[in-house]
């Protein structure tokens, strides 16, 4: 019978595997059939689902990817143009900027009595919210889904469960409501502290709301914020303290999305929160897509918002876009696909396999995922990195992306060894900078996917210069049209002049030993060995203190670090968003907070220039100030090394309009799919190989047969073998 067990198992397994092919199409298709006639973009959320989808709370790039398709903030970015260009999105035209004195009188931009800046937003008249049960009304015009008790609405567990929906036009008051939500202490918006410095009345509203007793929905329209004025249905004035030209960039972030009060009230129905029916999980927006399924454990599905305003693919881009085919869909109505499915993929290996099988249209959304699968994706050819034969045979397209970000190891300028502002200390830091061969480091550990940072400001942001004018003269020379790192001999010379000849303290004879605090997961033994070697060339010893992020953060807060690792990704494409990384008052030891200037760098000149840059509009004057600040950063050698991360995104041949945008995530409305090609390629690439099934069955049979034979022999054997036989 045990033999029967095994044979049944084999037959069962083979049957199940064969049955798996009974459906239409390839056996390994992980997706359910698409809705009839709909063009579906197959994407992923990786490695984790979003935690928050409330635009007042969410501040993670993976969440932004989903929110950016659902909400339309007042401003946005041109899809194709570079440098990044702000364009009106939820508003019909650029905000009108007015400068006011303390009494509210209009003054000129450079007037000393300037106290406020007022931004007037003209809300689009054609903008509509998506269909949603929050807008559904009965014949008397009253909300259809307002319940007295949890039991009344107990039958609804998801938004699609509600049979009736409604929609309405976006009004200026919806934007005002969204901004007031930022001030609501109950929501705990990450923007509250920062924005309270600027938006007039936000701090006061927070204080007022702190003491309010809540029982269900709190209508924020009943409260006023001094800096918000709803002039009419399509005009909103936002007043901020003083001047802050970068405020217009903040208007391009999801925090400033319009929120309909009806939705806020709807989600405060009794018992809804217990079924995760909240604005944090079911957004209500006016963007090109709306959420129709939210299972963060498995998938999030967005469908075309039928009431999305008229929006068209741009007809102009940057030079080269036409030749690259990026304008092929110019003038077409957006969005170009009907549905977006984000499937949860926690591990890169299955994600990558599905991409190569054609079940994902692109290799990633927030990460190209090509770095971890580099050896499968690329080969190093005579002309540098090329796609591997498998990738190339699939007709896959590459989209390189230099992120508006900077990763770096910084010196703690308060440290007695590497910190300080004397010439000796500068020379010590420069010697270390030269020794750390960033080009080699990126080639070995990042597969060349990074660019040595000569500047604190990354490419694509004003203030970043290319070519000879853009190199850091303290660490590099311009030779034969390219930057060349200064020699180790120069580093040794600088080290000696700093008081450490051959890496030893000239006074004590002790070897120079430095400590690097780094997050455990961000460094491996091979990287440590490499750093030991490069610093060993100048006689400097390194000790690593790996720790998790929480412990590293604690060290930064207390200044208990010598060299630390950190990174910054831009919120908006302005040099101010990088230069603030060295602003003195933002040093953790100065502000006693999670300041951005983890080096605790202090320079009166730099700080004053920063204050000026922050309030000066773009122009030659500002450019000169930025250049001067960059020079201070280079001269003082504040960071050990820095690089701009690069990523390569791969797209299957049927996907178009995949140009990466470093700042905006609201780009999926431009994605286009050739579905006929996709179906054909999927079928071609996924022909099942059936011989292993037969081979497996044969193998099991081969294992069973000797067993059966031996069993029968044993059953028929006599108790004792006869000597005569």
């Amino acid at each position: 019978m045990n033999i029967l067990c095994a044979s049944r198992a084999a037959i069962g397994l083979a049957a199940v595997l064969l049955l798996s092919g009974c459906g239409k199409g390839p056996w390994n298709n992980p997706h359910p059939p698409n809705p009839e006639g709909e063009l579906v973009y197959q994407s992923m959320m990786s490695p984790a689902p979003p935690k928050h989808l409330d635009p007042a709370i969410s501040y993670a790039s993976d969440e932004n990817l989903i929110l950016s398709q659902i909400y339309e903030s007042p401003m946005g970015y041109h899809f194709l143009k570079r440098p990044y260009e702000l364009i009106p999105l939820g508003v019909g035209e650029d905000p009108e900027v007015t400068f006011l004195d303390a009494e509210g009188n209009e003054v000129s931009e450079d007037d000393e009595s300037l106290a406020y800046t007022r931004y007037t937003l003209k809300v689009r008249k054609d903008a509509h919210f998506q269909p949603h049960p929050a807008f559904a009304t009965n014949e008397q015009g009253e909300p259809l889904y307002l319940f007295e008790s949890a039991s009344e609405g107990a039958g609804y567990t998801q938004i699609p469960d509600f049979p009736e929906t409604g929609h309405r036009a976006v009004k200026a008051s919806d934007y005002a409501y969204g901004i007031k939500r930022l001030a609501d202490p109950d929501l705990g918006s990450p923007m509250l502290s920062f924005m309270s410095q600027y938006i007039v009345g936000m701090r006061e509203l927070t204080e007022e709301l702190t003491g309010v007793e809540r029982d269900g929905w709190l209508n924020l329209d009943d409260y006023t914020m001094e800096g918000l004025e709803v002039v009419d249905d399509h005009t909103l004035n936002i007043s901020i303290h003083g001047r802050y030209p970068q405020f217009v960039y903040w208007l391009a972030m999801r925090f400033f999305s319009p929120i309909p009060p009806e939705a806020d009230r709807f989600y405060k129905n009794p018992g809804f929160i217990d079924r995760n029916l909240t604005l944090d999980w079911w957004p209500v927006g006016s963007g090109p897509f709306m959420m129709v399924r939210n299972d963060p454990n498995s998938e999030i599905v967005l469908a075309r918002n039928p009431h999305f305003r008229e929006d068209y693919f741009p007809s102009e881009g940057e030079p080269g876009d036409l030749e690259a085919g990026n304008l092929a869909d110019a003038g077409k109505r957006l969005p170009l696909v009907d549905r977006i499915v984000f499937r949860l993929e926690k591990e890169v290996l299955p994600l990558w396999t599905k991409f190569l099988q054609g079940y994902y249209d692109r290799s990633g959304e927030n990460h190209g995922n090509t770095n971890r699968m580099f050896d499968q994706a690329f080969v190093v050819g005579p002309d540098g990195v090329e796609m591997s034969p498998e990738i190339a045979s699939h007709g896959i397209k590459m989209d390189p992306d230099v992120k508006p970000a900077i990763y770096y190891y910084g010196f703690n300028m308060r440290d007695p060894v590497v910190g300080g502002y004397t010439e000796e200390k500068r020379k010590l830091r420069r010697a270390l900078q030269i020794a750390f061969n960033v080009e080699e480091y990126l080639a070995i550990f990042y597969n060349g996917n990074g660019i040595t940072a000569q500047n604190i400001i990354p490419p694509g942001i004003p203030g970043h210069l290319e070519g000879e004018a853009g190199i850091n003269p303290y660490t590099h020379r311009w030779i034969d049209g390219e930057p060349v790192r200064r020699s180790i001999d120069e580093a040794k010379q600088l080290l000696a002049e700093a008081g450490y000849p051959n890496g030893r303290d000239a006074r004590t004879g002790e070897p120079l030993k430095l400590f690097i605090d780094v997050q455990s997961q961000a460094i491996g033994n091979t990287q440590m060995n490499w750093m030991d070697r490069v610093f060993g060339q100048i006689g400097v010893q390194i000790e690593y203190r790996p720790a998790d992020w929480n412990r590293t953060r604690e060290k930064l807060l207390t200044g208990n670090t010598q060299i630390y690792s950190y990174g910054w990704i831009a919120d908006y494409p302005d040099p101010e968003n990088f230069l603030f990384l060295l602003y003195g008052p933002d040093g953790p030891l100065n502000c006693k907070c999670d300041g951005s200037n983890n080096s605790n760098f202090e320079s009166e000149e730099y700080d004053e220039l920063f204050r000026q840059v922050r309030i000066t509009p773009p122009g030659p004057e500002r450019e000169a100030m930025v250049a001067r600040m960059v020079e201070i950063y280079r001269r003082e050698a504040v960071w050990l090394y820095a690089f701009y991360p690069k990523d390569i995104y791969l797209s299957n041949p049927w996907v178009s309009n995949t140009k990466r945008h470093g700042i905006s995530k609201a780009t999926l409305k431009y994605i286009n799919i050739d579905d006929e090609l996709r179906q054909r390629k999927r079928a071609e690439w996924n022909q099942p190989v059936t011989w292993p099934l037969y081979a497996g069955a044969l193998l099991v049979a081969a294992m069973i047969l000797p067993g059966v034979t031996a069993y029968r022999r044993r059953q028929n054997a006599t108790a004792r073998r006869s000597d005569n036989n």
Partner: protein, 325 residues
Amino acid sequence: MLAYIIRRLIYAIPILIGVNLLTFTLFFVVNSPDDMAVSQLGDKYVTPEAIQKWKVKNGYDKPLFINDEAEGLGAVTETIFFNKSVRLFAFDFGRSESGRDITTDVSTRMWPSLAVALPTFAVGIWVNICVALMVVMFHGTRLDRWAVFVFVALMSISYLFYIIGGQYLVAKTWKLVPVSGFHSEGQIWRFLILPVLVGVVAGIGSGARWYRTLFLEEANQDYVRTARAKGASEISILFRHILPNALIPILTGVVVLIPALFMGSLLIESFFGIPGLGSYMLDAIKSQDFAIVRTMVFIGSILYIIGLILTDISYTWADPRVRLN
């Protein structure tokens, strides 16, 4: 028996308190409430005020164990430990740090976990017992020695290897099933074939070897010799005599696992994209979501205790001589 079960359930209370205390202590040794706040609020523009507000909103603004500022019983009750623990014992799991209702999530994610764990468990036991009985039948032969060698080899291979190897061969190279995924719109079984296959194959080494040892102990007993002397067939000896007598140690190892099947498998669920409780726990650990971690540990402890009680009860079924007093 009822009195026995009630007594065991009462004993479970101090065990659960102890487990809860241990989880709480271990979690807060490596994570402070401030760390949790930063993790939830993001790394940018997080001010001390924002951290404080998050702590107040989520109930982490009190001392961990002892509140020196409170008077009387408040010194114990006005603490994070007390507030977070009391609700657990009332089976009010509350919300995760990201605001989702944990009870809803657990009840939703339990089913995918069971969909993978139950067939893996059932098929695994069946295959292991079949293989072990076959090997026992050939005890002392070359086949037996080779089988033990293969079992040890299978045991020595990392579970991860089975997963990645299975995905590479069956899903990527042979394209027979989806490499990962899980959705409820029909044909769920297509997504279960590979994880179940991997789970069963990965368990054969240790499972079959263990059952072989149990069966061999019985195979040398007098009653087996007697049965053989009476002319009983080998199949009859194995299934009618050896298997029932080896049931007690089998039940000890197996029944306790049945309730824990709800908890899913961390690795299998993560690699195969199964939205179950195993991956729920893993995500919570990664995102420092203490509310989910403590709930899952609490549920896990309860299920384990239930498993132990069920094991005891199953003894009375397997061996009528056993009495639960």
